[in-house]
């Protein structure tokens, strides 16, 4: 699978471009200081206490063993999943993946989009009770950027002023463009307006550090017992290759609204083992499912199987630095057209992956993928054209192309390589030698580009923006294993980096993808999906394209079987008597109140939660979005309304908030096939 990916979700991008109306390029650049909506969870998205199971323990399968739980030295999805629960950044992600205030209650963005001022909440606490200060964040960011820390995910911080100089060690860490204005205010200066910057702050490299415990424990700072964190949970146990146990953090500022008492993370080296644990009832949430098990899962566990689009593209790369691909773009096009992607996803990958001819997955908000001619052809037409181009490149049945296709050892990669090779053979008569390589050998060969001809590739976006995909084909990018080098493309990318007008930026992105597809250094195959099993008892989460799911939103509901008739009656009684009392006494009420069945959950929510927008938590559709303060629109610096998490203050939503919600919803119509709705 794809290696370590930290994945982001920029709400801000969507909103900036929403107002960026200036489609006419000759217009004056519109000031960026427009209202940035604050997104928050409405109180009514919370579960009714009757429905909560007595034991609030979540058991998540979590892929590989994390390398470390030091947020500034960690990398990879498994570690980041745990760190999102342990720590809280200035911003966090909501269940649907949108960015919301975290430890920062609100923030200002300067008119030029390059200065962010964050105002920390007063009640933020470390897990030992200490106050979380602005200096903790500043220190955390500096530590992260400091070459002495050697953070593998440090690139996340590169939009910040002086970041590259600090990484390289040419400037000291304290020259990073970050400072604490006072105990509760953090200011960050950026090199260029970065539409997705707020989403970068949800990531571990931007987490704060509890300085006293770091000073006391040094290298062992992130071990259980030593680690002091500021998130909803605190590290309690860590047995390598066995489990990591998190407990609810008693000092967390939103403690009352955290439902889970414990979260277990289990590493699994074997997907089938994980599936067996899930089936035996030892897991509530799997990291993935074996790709060969689609039929079985679909048949036996259809309600628990969650398959949703994921922001990533599976492709084959051509090494353009050596024969036969250093010239002859038509040969690459021929090979691309000869692959029947529909057949591939239908027969081989099986989980409803979306066939694609593009590098950038479709459905990124505001991004319009460039037209690609062949896309609308029938496969027969494509194959005819493939044959024509193949011959024009100088090959035919008598002198067939002979190539090597390399992939790292994995059942899925193998099947795809076999299928593609068979299609090339059948359509064009290409003779393909398949070579599987051990992971690190494969990586080295791919990076060196000396012997590799065609390689297995894949990319998961770090943040929900086309740039996250396109930049890896910049001639100087370290990830550019194809050796693609086109000055036009490079120049376009460089312009995108400094472009302030969202709509123009998106057009540049589309133009650069068009150039890339023209040259075709890669053969895109399909858009990834996330696939996992989730117990119906786990609620409070939603599918999202970044596939980040914080445990803090989740809770365990009772199941129908747990209800006896007597319980139902008692529940009815209890409900009548407590109808007007509210959710805030979760812990006490759980034992007393008897719950309702799963089916009635929505009804209860409507019944019992009387404030705010009435919404059904089961539907999981509408992110709770709060108001955009219109009155701020013309101000030089936008003061973001304090995001009130307190249910008491949560008044009727202003009309704008509904617009905001609708907008947020728009995030990816194409990326939400019908299955997504069914799944949850």
């Amino acid at each position: 699978m794809i290696g370590g990916a930290y994945r982001l979700f920029p709400l801000i991008l969507l909103l900036l471009s929403a107002c960026g109306g200036g489609d006419a390029p000759q217009q004056q650049p519109e000031p960026l200081s427009r209202p940035v909506p604050v997104v928050r969870v409405a109180a009514d998205a919370q579960p009714s206490p009757q429905d909560l199971a007595a034991q609030q323990i979540l058991r998540r399968g979590n892929g590989e063993e994390p390398e470390t739980l030091d947020p500034h030295r960690a990398q990879g999805v498994p570690a980041n999943n745990i760190l999102r629960d342990l720590f809280e950044g200035l911003t966090i992600e909501l269940p649907d993946g949108q960015v919301a205030p975290g430890t920062a209650e609100h923030w200002d963005i300067s008119r030029d989009g390059k200065r962010y001022t964050f105002y920390l909440r007063d009640d933020a606490r470390w897990s030992n009770g200490d106050v979380v200060t602005a200096e903790d964040f500043v220190f955390g960011l500096r530590r992260s950027a400091d070459p002495a820390t050697s953070s593998p995910a440090v690139q996340v911080l590169s939009p910040i002023v002086n970041a590259h100089e600090v990484f390289a060690g040419t400037l000291p860490a304290d020259s990073l463009g970050v400072r604490a204005l006072n105990d509760h205010t953090v200011q960050i200066d950026l090199v260029a307006p970065t539409p997705y910057f707020l989403s970068l702050l949800t990531l571990p490299p931007a987490y704060p550090v509890h300085r006293p415990s770091l000073a006391a424990h040094g290298d062992q700072y992130s071990r259980p017992g030593n680690l002091v964190s500021n998130g909803a949970f605190v590290l309690s146990e860590w047995v390598i290759y066995s489990h990591i146990l998190l407990n609810r953090n008693p000092f967390y500022w939103d403690y009352e609204k955290i439902y889970l008492d414990q979260v277990y993370y289990y590493p699994f080296a074997d997907q089938n083992a994980e599936l067996a644990h899930y089936r035996a009832g030892d897991l509530d949430w799997t990291y993935e499912v074996p790709s060969s098990q689609y039929d079985w899962l679909e048949q036996k566990l259809p309600d628990e199987l969650s398959v949703t689009p994921w922001l990533g593209t599976y492709y084959l790369g051509f090494n353009l630095t050596r024969a036969p691909f250093e010239a002859l773009p038509e040969l690459r096009v021929a090979l691309s057209l000869a692959v029947d992607r529909e057949l591939l996803v239908d027969k081989v990958t099986r989980f409803g992956e979306l066939p694609t001819f593009h590098l950038v997955p479709k459905g990124i908000p505001r991004y319009e993928s460039p037209e690609y001619d062949y896309e609308n052809w029938t496969q027969a037409e494509r194959e005819a054209e493939a044959k024509r181009l193949y011959q024009r490149a100088g090959y035919d049945e008598e002198f067939p192309l002979r190539i090597e296709l390399r992939y790292n050892t994995s059942a899925n990669h193998k099947k795809i390589a076999l299928a593609v090779a068979a299609m090339w053979q059948q359509v064009l008569g290409v003779e393909t030698v398949l070579i599987n390589e051990e992971w690190r050998v494969f990586l080295q060969n791919r990076q060196q580009g000396r012997i590799t001809e065609v390689y297995r590739g894949g990319w998961i976006g770090d943040y929900n923006d086309p740039y996250a995909f396109l930049e890896i084909f910049h001639s100087q990018h370290r990830q550019n294993d194809s050796g693609y080098e086109n000055p036009t493309f490079d120049r376009l990318l460089e312009r995108i980096g400094t472009e302030r007008i969202p709509s123009r930026r998106m057009r540049l992105l589309a133009e650069s993808e068009r150039v890339l597809l023209q040259d075709l250094p890669l053969l895109p195959l399909y858009t990834y999906v996330t696939k996992r099993l989730v117990s119906p008892r786990v609620q409070g989460w939603q599918p999202n394209v970044m596939d980040n799911h914080l445990s803090r939103w989740m809770y365990i509901v009772r199941t129908e079987d747990e209800l006896s008739q007597a319980d139902r009656e008692a529940n009815e009684q209890a409900r009548r008597t407590t109808e007007s009392e509210l959710v805030d006494t979760v812990d006490e009420t759980v034992d007393v109140l008897v719950d309702k069945s799963l089916d009635n959950l929505g009804e209860i929510a409507v019944d019992t939660v009387t404030k705010g927008v009435q919404r059904d938590p089961m539907a999981g559709d509408n992110p709770a979005v709060s108001a955009v303060d219109k009155s701020m629109e013309s101000a030089d610096e936008v003061q973001i309304q304090r995001a009130e998490m307190d249910a008491e203050v949560e008044a009727e939503p202003e009309p704008e908030s509904i617009a905001g919600a609708a907008e947020a919803q728009e995030l990816s119509p194409e990326l939400r096939p019908e299955r997504m709705e069914e799944d949850r």
């Binding site: 794809i2 290696g3 370590g4 990916a5 063993e65 390398e67 470390t68 739980l69 030091d70 030295r73 990398q75 070459p147 002495a148 050697s150 953070s151 593998p152 440090v154 690139q155 990484f167 390289a168 060690g169 290298d219 062992q220 992130s222 071990r223 047995v239 390598i240 290759y241 066995s242 289990y266 590493p267 699994f268 080296a269 074997d270 089938n272 083992a273 067996a276 644990h277 089936r279 035996a280 030892d282 051990e438 992971w439 690190r440 050998v441 990586l443 080295q444 060969n445 990076q447 894949g458 370290r478 990830q479």
Partner: protein, 310 residues
């Protein structure tokens, strides 16, 4: 005998040295490095990481440094699991693997020796064929089939045992132990059968029988001890390997043992972790093979190590 033991002990030092040297260079010359990933690191960060773990020094210097540390029984920090040292990883994984391994070995010895003996005494009968067929099943069906099959049947269909995981309770040990024991049973019973048949055909057993000893006395007093020799030879390395865990069993039953550390360490190019496990395993091999040689002398008193035959 004491002189012999001392000599073996001294002999262990050059053996270990040779092992460390060969393994060190073999591991370091392999393509790929510990910090390679799908996502390439920025060059500065990679340089810093290399400096942090002294990977930027000449190989010879790193080798000397490593040797120095091993002398102090310090295997260094793990490159992959950055919060832990190799010593800590080994000492957390080894007890788990060793427990499973010893239980499996005990089971295999009991079953394997009795099955082998039983089959040998009824050579070429249907009982012999039956016992040997069952024994061979343990090696004909690979571990990576037996383990998921057990989970499927015992844990998922019958619900008798948990599907895996580890908490030191017997319920979670049963399936891994059985899986580990099956191939061992095949080896032990087959070796035992073959060598017992051989011994039973030899002249001194004929003599013993001729003297009118009961069959039971013949077997238990005279035949079993020499017949056990090949099994004992097999046991030395087999115990070392079973104590240090099987990656297949550990992965499928999600057991936090040493086998995963070794293979995962190798895949991750976690140089220190792999070397640590290799050295640890090497020491086990040396000790166990030494014990095996002592047992040889006990089983067959004519075997001498302290002087050359001629």
């Amino acid at each position: 005998m004491i002189a012999y033991a001392l000599r073996r002990l001294l002999g262990a030092i050059p053996t270990l040295l040779m092992l460390i040297t060969l393994a060190f260079f073999m591991i370091r010359l392999s393509p790929g490095g510990p910090f390679d990933n799908e996502r390439t690191l920025p060059p500065e960060i990679e340089a810093n990481l290399n400096a942090r773990y002294h990977l930027d020094e000449p190989l010879a210097m790193q080798y000397a440094r490593y040797l120095g540390n091993v002398l102090r029984f310090d295997f260094g920090p793990s490159f992959q699991y950055k919060d832990w040292t190799v010593n800590e990883l080994i000492s957390s994984g080894f007890p788990v693997s060793a427990t499973l391994g010893l239980l499996a070995m005990a089971l295999a010895l009991v079953v394997g020796l009795s099955a082998g003996t039983y089959a040998a005494l009824r050579q070429n009968s249907w009982i012999d064929y039956g016992v040997m067929t069952i024994a061979m099943t343990g090696i004909s069906i690979p571990t990576f089939v037996v383990a998921p099959l057990l989970i499927l049947v015992v844990a998922l269909s019958l619900g008798w045992l948990p599907a895996g995981g580890w908490d030191w309770t017997p319920a979670r040990m049963v399936m891994p132990v059985v899986t580990l024991a099956l191939p061992l049973i095949a080896y032990i019973s087959r070796l035992m059968r073959a060598s017992l048949i051989e011994v039973l055909h030899s002249n001194f057993i004929r003599t013993a029988r001729a003297k009118g000893l009961s069959e039971r006395q013949v077997i238990f007093r005279h035949a079993l001890k020499p017949a056990a020799l090949p099994v004992i030879s097999f046991l030395g390395p087999a115990i070392a390997s079973v104590l240090t865990g099987s990656v297949v069993v550990e992965r499928i039953f999600t057991v936090p043992g040493l086998g995963s550390h070794f293979v995962q360490g190798a895949l991750n190019r976690d140089y220190t972790l792999v070397l640590g496990v290799v050295v640890f395993y090497g020491m086990l091999i040396i000790v166990l093979n030494f014990l095996v040689d002592l047992i040889y002398a006990w089983l067959d008193p004519r075997i001498r190590y302290d002087r050359r035959w001629s």
